[in-house]
């Protein structure tokens, strides 16, 4: 009887020592996804991540909307990092339509993008803290995020899902007196996140829990195609802001943070170092930004691409490389839109990292991959 069943339905042989455990999708430790782990006692034998519970069909939806009305739904996958989520799409549409963006708008975009990176990373860090049972590290980032959310609210008028970037610039100029407020709050924010070192990153309890767990070697990190902070934590100096500068990043002095260890500790520390670097970039951008000028090119009501054309743009988001491939056939809607997200690429490394780890280390290894379930499912 068993032989007649199709391969997926065949009853698996059960090893008495191995137990299959479903973590998620309702478990608070997994996000909107399921991790099927097979454990032998306390040790993980095999792991099968099962994403797809929050698939929204963003790519198909984009084919039925024009280039402007695509904006609100394309930032939904990562509402905390919505400016970075929109960035590759906006850059791509600008190339398709042949629009030159004013310099001031490019600086405003860089500021928004860096603020959003910090907002996302603080949220990620808060969840990383609570995964490890460190409730102070949940409260502090969740509170200090407010400083930057307030700045984004002043710029764009929304706390999350700003819908601020449009093809041709940004929706509105910075509010009056913004530079001063921004500088004051970013400086205080930087001072605050430096305090996290004492309570979290130099904490011997955290170090003993995360050091040498889930080690991803430099070769494996490249071979598995990981991006962003995961790649930099494994010793590869790769940041799209430096390697493929977009907008005004080449005029700014950007440094990358690289750690060689490749364990959970390094992967959790690199985003924190990136936040300190983001504060530097915001200060530089505020200084170098032209004090006046247009921030948005006036577009025709229903912009169209010029015939059959395709474009691929990518940016460095909070989770790594975020790419957008747009194919246009000369109509008001894109013919095809494909998002290539950093979260999904980093998730591929999870089964390799968890093999042989203790089950108790699973949350810290999983979340240190800088994975955002909703973005990976699109």
């Amino acid at each position: 009887m068993t032989a007649e069943l199709p391969p997926g339905l065949a009853i698996q042989k059960v090893d008495e020592r191995i137990m299959t455990l479903n973590v998620g999708p309702q478990h608070p430790g997994s996000g909107h996804m399921r991790i099927i782990v097979q454990i032998d006692g306390d040790y993980i034998v095999a792991c099968d991540p099962d994403p797809g519970y929050v698939h929204r069909g963003e790519e198909k939806m984009a084919e039925y909307r024009n280039y402007i009305t695509n904006i609100p739904h394309l930032e939904r996958p990562v509402i905390h990092d919505s400016c970075n989520a929109l960035y590759p799409y906006v850059l791509g549409v600008e190339e398709l339509l042949g629009i030159e963006v004013p310099e001031r708008a490019q600086y405003v975009r860089v500021i928004c993008s860096e603020l959003n990176r910090c907002i996302y990373t603080m949220y990620w860090l808060a969840i990383y803290g609570i995964f490890l049972g460190h409730s102070t590290m949940f409260m502090w980032p969740a509170g200090d995020r407010e400083l930057l959310i307030d700045l984004m609210e002043k710029i764009s008028g929304a706390r999350v899902t700003h819908a601020h970037f449009v093809p041709g610039g940004v929706r509105n100029d910075l509010p009056p007196n913004f530079e001063e407020v921004c500088l004051r709050q970013v400086n205080y924010f930087e001072k605050r996140i430096k305090e996290y070192a004492a309570v979290f990153y130099d904490n011997p309890i955290l170090i003993s829990r995360t050091e040498n767990t889930g080690v991803l070697s430099r070769e494996d990190a490249i071979r598995l195609g990981t991006t962003g902070s995961v790649l930099r934590a494994s010793g590869v100096d790769y940041d799209l802001r430096l390697k493929e500068p977009y907008d005004v990043y080449e005029e700014l002095d950007v440094h990358t943070n690289v750690m060689k260890e490749g364990d959970s500790y390094a992967r959790s520390k690199v985003p924190w170092l990136d936040m300190l670097e983001s504060c530097n970039i915001i200060r530089q951008a505020l200084q170098k930004m032209p004090k006046s000028g247009s921030v948005r090119v006036k577009l025709k009501p229903n912009p169209k691409g010029k015939g059959l054309d395709s474009v691929y743009k990518r940016v460095e988001s909070g989770r790594g490389s975020l790419g957008c491939h747009i194919v246009s056939d000369g109509k008001v809607e894109p013919y095809r839109l494909k998002l290539s997200v950093g979260s999904f690429r980093n998730l591929i490394a999870l089964p390799y990292l968890l093999k042989g780890e203790k089950l108790g280390n699973m949350p810290s290894v999983y979340w240190s991959l800088n994975y955002w379930p909703v973005e990976a499912d699109r």
Binding site: K154, I155, P175, V199
Partner: protein
């Protein structure tokens, strides 16, 4: 071992310092955040918006021509705007139709404001739109014409004892 001990003492010390720092939490119903400007607006002559909160809309009956551009802009986003007949006769509005907004659907992206070429639709600082029924979330053109009363005065103040809402 000394490393472990000093590390734990540092962590505890950092936490103890927070007893003296100020409370950062915003006590929401009593305190309300202050926003820049009177809400998000758009200037069709330059094609650039004016910074402000994207809250509840405000409709100027004497500017609206019933051109439906806001409704068309919302079609691909939320389909929250419906054009309805209004009783009052305006000179510029021959068809006597004006937008009616369903805040159960609206995502507050403000693309309808960008679409309006007649300075008729703006957004305001009013964000407290909760209602006991779904019908209560549908704002008619008459309701949208009312300028909201907002009392928002709390701002982030940074002192040497930490940030607080003052």
């Amino acid at each position: 071992m000394t490393n472990t001990a000093t590390g734990i003492i540092r962590a505890l010390n950092s936490g103890i310092k927070h007893i003296a720092t100020k409370r950062f939490t915003l006590r929401y119903p009593e305190e309300k955040l202050k926003f820049v400007g009177d809400g998000y607006q758009f200037d069709p002559s330059t094609g650039v918006g004016i910074a402000g909160l994207k809250g509840r809309h405000m409709l100027f009956h004497d500017h609206c021509t019933g051109c439906q551009l806001c409704s068309i802009a919302c079609e691909g986003v939320a389909e929250a705007i419906a054009m309805v007949k209004v009783p009052d006769q305006q000179k510029q509005n021959k068809k006597s139709i004006m937008p009616q907004i369903d805040y159960g659907k609206c995502v507050f992206c403000g693309l309808c404001v960008d679409a309006c070429p007649f300075y008729a639709l703006y957004m305001t600082n009013d964000y407290e739109l909760s209602s006991f029924s779904k019908e209560g979330l549908i704002y008619t053109p008459a309701q949208l014409a009312v300028k909201p009363y907002v009392e928002q005065d709390s701002e982030i103040v940074i002192t040497k004892y930490g940030a607080t809402h003052g």
